[in-house]
């Protein structure tokens, strides 16, 4: 601990970096921590928009045809645009920027023990392009014809021909925004991988890299390897829309199903691109707060690589009934079910980490445990969908929707709150309020389950997705089917739970506000007695991160080591020699 305190004092002379002026410091910075905050704030602003969209279309489903408070009457075109852009925003403008870009930027240099990213200017450019992509996407809601409404998967010919989608400008702006976003993350990915591989502190071997860093690196590799085909597809789609080419038009020799292959060849690895960083955060948190080494570190790492490689071979399970050769379904059923093995292994390893630990249930730990519990439901329900035969029934039902929300919600929302609550003291130097944190936690996780469990039931009853109103379907308006509820009652219940969940997010923002207004920086460099290098730097770290670049002597998860217990402490930081 002595070392840490010395470093803290030594860092006070870093104040001279702060006279750069607001513009240079916050908007034109090359500092990885400022860029992380830029990504974080932009991602959270987009999350508010995506959440609002969900509120509007859920209200329409619960009370079809009635004016939604804060929006008004929802037309079918608006409904489709809301659904489409809710999905697009939550994946590309919330999960990606927050989990990978914000935390990747903030954590990688601090956790590998260097002063900044390897290519700081590329890093700045990455954020600027990302911001531009967000502006393009938002502007697409306000052009003539409204925002694109052809689902976030944008299958042609609907997405390619304006006579079919009736959003000539919205559809093109949507594709342009997505393509720009990919460029931003390609630039970011170069930085993450290079920094983690080349700028590690002396002594840090590959097996000493904290899991959060490994996961972001593997996610970046997956993203960079999978996105190429989709960028090509996006350009073809833009050509089809604007130059009247026929890449996806059968009348001109094209094939609409080609897009689906390009999209899902990217789209399935993308699931793991956002999953892995969240798993990385969970690894850091459960080890710290159960005071245990990560169970089988190397197994986790090999599992991550195995999952990553397998994820390139499963894409067509999204296309079982899309008109592909039916024999292909066998291959993709087998690969899809195989991926359950590494993922199950990872879940087992994380759960095994708790064994014989000393578990503190504070806010970050609650989020991390909730991730495991909720993702488990998402994982097991995926088996139904990866199996070709049952998928003939499940495809496009609310069962699919509930399944992937049980994966994406833990990833994008719970994962983000894991990272935010755990590293908040490092980012700001101040501890968050625990009571408000726990209120926010329960107020988010309980309503989340109340939203999506009924949607599994609705899916099991055959309710299809992306339907503006179910009033025209007698089979989907049945009474008294589950726990005394009719199908419409379940829709109302899910919507009410969503409203409750959204309302509880106010608690989080209040907590942030209160914490930021606190005068004293009460966190200190290492509030959790954690091992990895970011806890050596002062909170918040100044420009250049460390007073003196650290040397690493051991892995990041040496908690409760017998030699240290003899000395009366249960952690053994990476930077301490003895």
């Amino acid at each position: 601990m002595a070392t840490a305190e010395v470093t803290h004092e030594a860092h006070d002379d870093h104040g001279h970096h702060e006279d750069e002026g607001f513009f240079k410091k916050y908007l034109w910075s090359v500092d990885h921590k400022v860029i992380a905050v830029q990504y974080l704030v932009t991602g959270m602003a987009m999350a508010v928009i995506g959440g609002f969209f969900a509120y509007v279309f859920r209200m329409q489903l619960a009370f079809p045809g009635e004016a939604v408070p804060g929006f008004g009457i929802v037309s079918p075109a608006e409904y489709n645009a809301l659904v489409t852009n809710h999905g697009t925003i939550m994946i590309f403008w919330v999960a990606m920027p927050v989990l990978i870009a914000a935390f990747g930027n903030f954590l990688i240099p601090l956790m590998v023990g260097c002063d900044d990213m390897v290519f700081p200017k590329i890093n700045r450019l990455s954020y600027q392009i990302f911001l531009l992509s967000a502006i393009v996407l938002i502007s697409s809601f306000f052009v003539e014809g409204g925002g694109f409404g052809g689902a976030w998967t944008a299958y042609p010919p609907l997405s390619a021909v304006s006579e079919y989608n009736l959003t000539p400008l919205g559809a093109t702006l949507w594709v342009v925004a997505v393509a720009l976003e990919f460029v931003a993350f390609l630039l970011g990915g170069i930085n993450f991988i290079t920094t983690a591989m080349n700028s590690r502190a002396p002594g840090m071997r590959l097996y000493d890299i904290p899991m959060a860093v490994w996961m972001i690196v593997v996610a970046s590799i997956l993203f960079m390897a999978s996105v190429g085909p989709l960028i090509a597809g996006a350009i073809m789609l833009i050509f089809d829309q604007t130059l009247n080419t026929g890449f996806f038009d059968p009348a001109k020799g094209g094939d609409p199903v080609l897009w689906q292959h390009l999209f899902w060849f990217f789209g399935h690895p993308e699931v793991y691109v956002v999953l892995l960083p969240a798993l990385g955060f969970v690894a850091e948190i459960i080890t710290t707060f159960s005071r245990k080494p990560l169970f089988a570190y190397r197994t986790v790492l090999y599992t991550v690589f195995g999952t990553g490689i397998l994820s390139f071979t499963v894409w067509a399970h999204h296309q079982f009934i899309s008109g592909i050769d039916p024999r292909m379904a066998h291959i993709f059923t087998i690969t899809t079910l195989l991926i359950s093995v590494p993922i199950a292994e990872m879940m087992f390893v994380y759960i095994a980490t708790l064994y014989k630990g000393s578990i503190t249930l504070n806010t970050p730990m609650l989020w991390a445990l909730a991730f495991i519990g909720e993702f488990l439901i998402g994982g097991v329900t995926g088996i139904f969908l990866g199996a070709s035969g049952p998928d003939v029934f499940y495809h496009d039902t609310y069962f699919v929707l509930a399944h992937f929300h049980y994966t994406f919600f833990p990833i994008a929302i719970i994962g983000s709150f894991c990272g935010l609550t755990y590293w908040w003291p490092k980012m700001t130097g101040k501890m968050m309020n625990e009571t408000l944190g726990k209120i926010h936690f329960w107020g988010t996780v309980i309503p989340f389950n109340v939203i999506f469990l009924p949607l599994f039931v609705l899916g099991q009853l055959g309710q299809h997705r992306r339907i503006y109103s179910y009033e025209g379907f007698g089979e989907l308006m049945r009474e008294d089917v589950w726990l005394g509820m009719g199908m419409q009652d379940m829709r109302v219940l899910a919507t009410m739970a969503l409203v409750v969940m959204l309302a509880f997010q106010v608690v989080f923002f209040v907590n942030v506000f209160i914490t930021l207004r606190k005068k004293e920086k009460d966190a200190g460099p290492n509030p959790y007695n954690a091992n990895s290098l970011e806890w050596l730097a002062p909170s918040p770290p100044g420009h250049g991160n460390f007073a003196e670049l650290p040397t690493v002597y051991r892995g990041p998860y040496e908690y409760s080591h017998p030699d240290r217990k003899a000395k009366g402490t249960d952690f053994w930081p990476q930077w301490e020699k003895e």
């Binding site: 059968p250 089988a296 087992f348 000393s358």
Partner: protein, 230 residues
């Protein structure tokens, strides 16, 4: 799964595969979730109890993980077999019984058109019966469908049959079904097809042979009258 009616020959097989997966997945889910919550409770922080240093690098504790993931793999094999069996039945075989009929399904923004063979049992003859949004078939008789689209992707989905198939412009996709219950079953479009996607319901009318014959007769007379009038 008897929440929803089973009205085709393969509905029961789909539900059977789903039930098998439910048992296997349910076993793992409750085992893992139970263990998870028990660990959180049993190893909560208590005064005087310290965590143990277990890295999982040793063989003994690791065995539990290895053993468990082998079992997961075994379960996967069962799921794959069940899934493929059902899949082959629905998507890779076509009925060849002599009484098999063929219907043509044409999807477009935002309606279904059906071309039924008339009393002669053949398509592309003068007595073909064309309807919009209503498909009329005979119970217990195998039907082959030829599914096409005039514009964007659609998906012909009948929940009661457990049938779903995308319609792709430029292609004729062939499949089959055989209804086992008379009655009316809804058709939903299961692929986003534009602003009318939610307003594209259709209906399958499964009729007894007598009712079906009567329906055909009424339609054929109407068609002939219409032709005479022209």
């Amino acid at each position: 799964m008897d929440w929803i009616v089973q009205a085709s020959t393969y509905a029961d097989d789909v539900d059977g595969a789903i039930l098998l997966i439910t048992y296997l997945v349910g076993f793992w889910f409750f085992l893992t979730a139970g263990l998870f919550f028990w660990l959180i409770f049993a190893f909560r922080k208590r005064d005087g109890v310290e965590a143990e240093y277990l890295t999982g690098g040793e063989q003994q504790p690791k065995k539990f993980i290895t053993w468990a993931h082998m079992l997961v793999l075994v379960c996967d094999v069962f799921v794959v077999i069940a899934a493929i069996q059902v899949w082959v039945e629905i998507k890779q075989t076509l009925p060849d019984a002599p009484e098999t009929q063929t219907v043509r399904i044409v999807s477009q923004q935002w309606a279904w058109s059906f071309i039924h063979p008339g009393p002669d049992g053949q398509l592309d003859t003068a007595d073909d019966i064309k309807t919009v949004d209503d498909l009329h078939i005979e119970v217990d008789r195998p039907y082959i469908y030829e599914l096409t689209s005039r514009d964007v992707l659609h998906d012909f989905s009948v929940i009661a049959f457990r049938l779903k198939q995308d319609a792709v412009p430029g292609r004729v996709i062939t499949g089959w079904f055989q209804a086992t219950k008379t009655g009316e079953f809804e058709i939903q479009c299961a692929e986003m097809c534009g602003i009318g996607h939610g307003l594209m319901p259709g209906m399958v009318h499964v009729q007894s042979p007598e009712e079906h014959a009567a329906w055909m007769a009424s339609k054929s007379n109407g068609a002939m009258l219409a032709q005479a009038g022209r």
